[in-house]
Symmetry: D2
Subunit: 410 residues, 4 copies
Amino acid sequence: MSDTKGRVLLAYSGGLDTSCILKWLLEQGYEVMAYIANLGQEEDFDAAREKALKVGATKVFVEDLREEFVKELVFPSVQANAIYENVYLLGTSLARPIIARKQIEIAKRENCTHVAHGCTGKGNDQVRFELAYLALAPSIKIIAPWRLSEFYTRFPGRQDLIKYAVEKGIPVSQTPSKPWSCDDNLYHISYEAGMLEDPNVSPQKDMWRLTVDPEDAPDRPEFIDITFTKGIPTRVQNTADNTDISQPLDLFIYLNSAACRNGIGRIDIVENRFIGIKSRGCYETPAGTILRVSHLDIEGLVLDREVRAYRDEHVSLQYGKVLYNGLYFSPEGQLLKNIISLTQEHVNGVVRLKLYKGNVIVLGRYSTTENLYDMEESSMDVQGGFEPKDSEGFIKIQSIRLKKHGNSFI
Amino acid sequence: MSDTKGRVLLAYSGGLDTSCILKWLLEQGYEVMAYIANLGQEEDFDAAREKALKVGATKVFVEDLREEFVKELVFPSVQANAIYENVYLLGTSLARPIIARKQIEIAKRENCTHVAHGCTGKGNDQVRFELAYLALAPSIKIIAPWRLSEFYTRFPGRQDLIKYAVEKGIPVSQTPSKPWSCDDNLYHISYEAGMLEDPNVSPQKDMWRLTVDPEDAPDRPEFIDITFTKGIPTRVQNTADNTDISQPLDLFIYLNSAACRNGIGRIDIVENRFIGIKSRGCYETPAGTILRVSHLDIEGLVLDREVRAYRDEHVSLQYGKVLYNGLYFSPEGQLLKNIISLTQEHVNGVVRLKLYKGNVIVLGRYSTTENLYDMEESSMDVQGGFEPKDSEGFIKIQSIRLKKHGNSFI
Amino acid sequence: MSDTKGRVLLAYSGGLDTSCILKWLLEQGYEVMAYIANLGQEEDFDAAREKALKVGATKVFVEDLREEFVKELVFPSVQANAIYENVYLLGTSLARPIIARKQIEIAKRENCTHVAHGCTGKGNDQVRFELAYLALAPSIKIIAPWRLSEFYTRFPGRQDLIKYAVEKGIPVSQTPSKPWSCDDNLYHISYEAGMLEDPNVSPQKDMWRLTVDPEDAPDRPEFIDITFTKGIPTRVQNTADNTDISQPLDLFIYLNSAACRNGIGRIDIVENRFIGIKSRGCYETPAGTILRVSHLDIEGLVLDREVRAYRDEHVSLQYGKVLYNGLYFSPEGQLLKNIISLTQEHVNGVVRLKLYKGNVIVLGRYSTTENLYDMEESSMDVQGGFEPKDSEGFIKIQSIRLKKHGNSFI
Amino acid sequence: MSDTKGRVLLAYSGGLDTSCILKWLLEQGYEVMAYIANLGQEEDFDAAREKALKVGATKVFVEDLREEFVKELVFPSVQANAIYENVYLLGTSLARPIIARKQIEIAKRENCTHVAHGCTGKGNDQVRFELAYLALAPSIKIIAPWRLSEFYTRFPGRQDLIKYAVEKGIPVSQTPSKPWSCDDNLYHISYEAGMLEDPNVSPQKDMWRLTVDPEDAPDRPEFIDITFTKGIPTRVQNTADNTDISQPLDLFIYLNSAACRNGIGRIDIVENRFIGIKSRGCYETPAGTILRVSHLDIEGLVLDREVRAYRDEHVSLQYGKVLYNGLYFSPEGQLLKNIISLTQEHVNGVVRLKLYKGNVIVLGRYSTTENLYDMEESSMDVQGGFEPKDSEGFIKIQSIRLKKHGNSFI
């Protein structure tokens, strides 16, 4: 390493951009190792490994992070009902901490001086990766080629990258590029840029890669039951196909497939990036959508009203923002994650669902361990549980304050 | 009035309960006037008027409050994205202030000493009505028969009411009663009690009265455009049926019918009543569901990020809770309503929607007056707008704090 | 017990009210046990015990709860910077859960069917006691004589109680009663009612019982150092009097005396009771005031900015409200208490204070274990730690969003 | 202007730094105009004007912004009880928007291409000035010499500035510089840097410039009355010196002098800068401290409980943060300012205060227009206003939820 500018661990995807970056870093005088995180995206990891070696990486690390992704990031997010700007389920945001952590772990082990990534200078992902890198390894050096003028002025367009790749003997996929870009993982896929930049242009039918169009989904619904234990999905059952899964990753993959075939999980939004720019994105979050609906539902049955209200007002939005802005590895990120689990002690029960052409319909729910719901007390027909007179006192006391303001409303 | 215990203005529905209450109040020595609020519920108002007079009301007031309901309660709730416990669109809660206000207005005008209602002693509605009554008329006296032991011990079950009605010559509907109770208005219908009290029992297919089952909805989608002005829907267009409506009530009714025929707006939940009891409810909110989706969407395009975040964190949930708990006519209720309108100044634009078997799908959105979305700045392909170097500074400054905590995460 | 209406455990103070209540309960046919909680209030506990026995209690329990009060209620409140309506340090609220818990514990052990207290029907304390009773023993029966018309109509004024006491042979203190009432414990004393009910009448100089008037405090300041460990005061040093205390109760008592002799901890406010009524109270919270100032100060040095902001926005006010409203023994109360301790992991350090005529003046602070404060980085004179260029990027990125709104401000 | 790099409007203080910057900018080829904002800081404005002209400014603008500072920034901050990290009253933050706005106004009028300031690259003020500049004039160019390496490497220390000043004929003050830096305005003074960078070093007694040491303050208290109208101080009375002032600026100046002579308003803290660095600052905020205490007090008397709670939870901290971070001229800043005024409609009344050696002691308060405080209702002695029985119902209803959790607490 003494004769190089340093050893770089590059987050590598196997695609055109990061292949060119790999080559370019070598040309700048760095030793480069490639790191490929498997988060369940559609990718030929062996081919990517070969390609990285062929371009000149001294080592290639392909890491299957799917299970830790599901358990450490996806499930707590379900527990929190985390959401960004009311609709976005944070698919990209959830993946970044897992990718960055392993990258730093390898970089430390392999004595890398630098880490590098292929994110642009206008997006959220540069922020998410780099805040994670620096939180985990404060003295690591970062190379972000798309923010270096010597790089981005050399490669102003995709054609320039292709030309460079051809010159350098980097294999270039023959598939014509789509008029948008996408990023996928086990949890979701995102589409943005290109023709999507006009927020009034509807996405093409063939853009969506994970879910079928609700219009093309089966005419007959499917029925599944999801069991939650402390707010985490721990069992999925579907009697129609004899499904009964408890292993976290398998369970998640099953929910993905059930959602996908029933057209569940698409959104199309304009969101506000951390950087302050509005951007338009289309997302598919199949299993995540089912889990959100069912987790919200079981909480209705088993969670105390005020704990729920606290979580809604002080945790869900805050955790969503922390994830979106790349602050998972921060004191507040870890605090919030701990708070989430404090709220979920009693979130135990089963939700019965119908999946049908884009709809996740709750059919019922029950819990064998929790008893906040009390059928007799709830009943309008039975005078059990409390004196109607008490309600009068309750109302009268509440009204003391209100009566003072009487004249100003009518 | 001197020879009575007082003059009561009874919120009257035309149904069995309030008819018996009317008679019973007369028997207790009150003079009774009946008040029927038309909020768009399915009801024969003329028949109800006749019935009240027949039972013995000295006057009957039938008031069409639909337009003020839509304009004063429904639309601000859409602006606020008000919601209770993540899913409930507050249909019953929104109607109560409108009903109570007119009741108090008439009670004052007619020199009534009392107001009365037919709500039970376990529900939210008694609270909502009475807090509104007392906020608007601090010295009004309230009669809530279902909380009076002399009433509820006399009428422990529905059969006792029927028997009483027959004895007193009150016409009794021949329709067999459903095994649940419901309450409807222009905005929604609720179903609860009876067989729904077991939260694991799915509602019968024929329970739902407003919307078709998504499975029975048309196989071809419908397309509508909704224009928002300061966060309020001001125009609905559907080229397929030449719809182009701007009048608030007509617009709302049209959206209701479009939602209903496409199976949009059903939910089934367990919620936490103000009184501290969990209860299960099924709701249909057809137009409200379309408006929620489309309002959230247009905000993405035109609302400043921090104004949106403020509203989400400090207004939507709070206003939802205020409405749910019957505190619309309170200082905090009015404060929140004023804040809502402060946030909506720039919520101007059009959302294009596809309605299909329970789904409200956003196809695109645009605004001719707002310009926060900047296609060039947003573009990943163009280096316009700012220096990539700036992002590096942004990230580095953010990381200063995080670097301090580096060791605790890995 | 079979020949009585039940066995009551009465929260007994030794004063006129609860002595009369004790007798009255006996006359109603109850067996009565008396329970006296020692929370550090000024009281002759032996005399109170004798008096209760003399009036007719079958057993008397005097419990020293001071240490658990300080450790379980006072210190977490310091950690949380809990406060109600910006100024009230919750002295009465903090004592109630401790008193109620022991009362229920004894009531269960002694097979009491009822618990009773001497609170009025208009205050906060009835709510605090009873919500705690019912949270801890849902089926316990409660007697609140001041809410029973047979009791309060019999004793409309203090003279009626005295007359009754004299008749029944209950010893009556010869001290003339003050024109206000007060309630004290180790943490604070409250004064309210009587002449204080006019919020514009200043309290008499001799009302204040704990602290000297700042004008009468020593002309020379005192100096103390307080060490915090995880946000809890664990050591107090005063070199002038060779103080060096670590035991929680002793430490707290020392801080009380230091504050009292220097005139520290008085407030005079109008507050909003849970019941919706405004009331005027004067309070002395000597040690609590010193601890609040010093805890806030050490947090500045050692607490992460965002953790602090989270705690300020989502915990301090919420926990203050929970305590004030008597909801310590609730799911949300326990959740908040757990969150508080999550935030205090790094609150370790020493604050050096000057106490002088009502003032708590911070002279400096340091931590030997925490390192968020970085003198070089902080320095305006040194260019270390980061590139000034980074600040420019930080600002420019922040301004992207703001520039959109440029025209509306000037 | 055609023969220069542009015309710069420099925020000029008359001191060494900005004088050198002025000269340096001229040397870089800019035309420079100087702008001096009078916010009440201790300064010889005529001398500063002469100095700027002497150094080479083509024009000098001295602007008296004191009244708009008090009315537009200080008073709304009092209304909001705005505070940063529990103790800092935001003195510097409040001044920046006023200074920046006038600077942009002049820059536009005088066709300046650039604005410049003398803030360092590590502090909050660069952010506050520049975010304001860019919000108000999105295309203005900014020169921040202390962030330019060609500037800061040329002037690494104060001696280098002095040497340059002497060479260039810039008058240098003979006063030896203090071992800290300070910044003052009508509202406050801040001290930081230098020897204060060690957070455990107490400030020297002679550092504090505005207030007397509490130990040196008069032995006899002073008494003043402050009248609030919609939350804004509109009258100050002191019968001892025949003070009766209503004019905003005069009133504020009087409160400053009363506070200063009684040793009121000092704090010494470690705070978290926007930039993520912790720094130590000492502040004097004399009138601001009196106004905070008295405004909080009058709110107790006249503000509805829930409006107060809303403001405390959703406005005070948020507005404090917005001001601290330089976001006054932002959509959220303006939203919050509008919300503040919505909350203050009823904040009308008089607070009577005693000022004594650092203490602001409330003696009483009253309102002739507001009536939320009801002496009879509040009274513990009177059974008026409501039935004690109502409290029982209130408590019982509250306990329904709590009873469910009974077993988990004991």
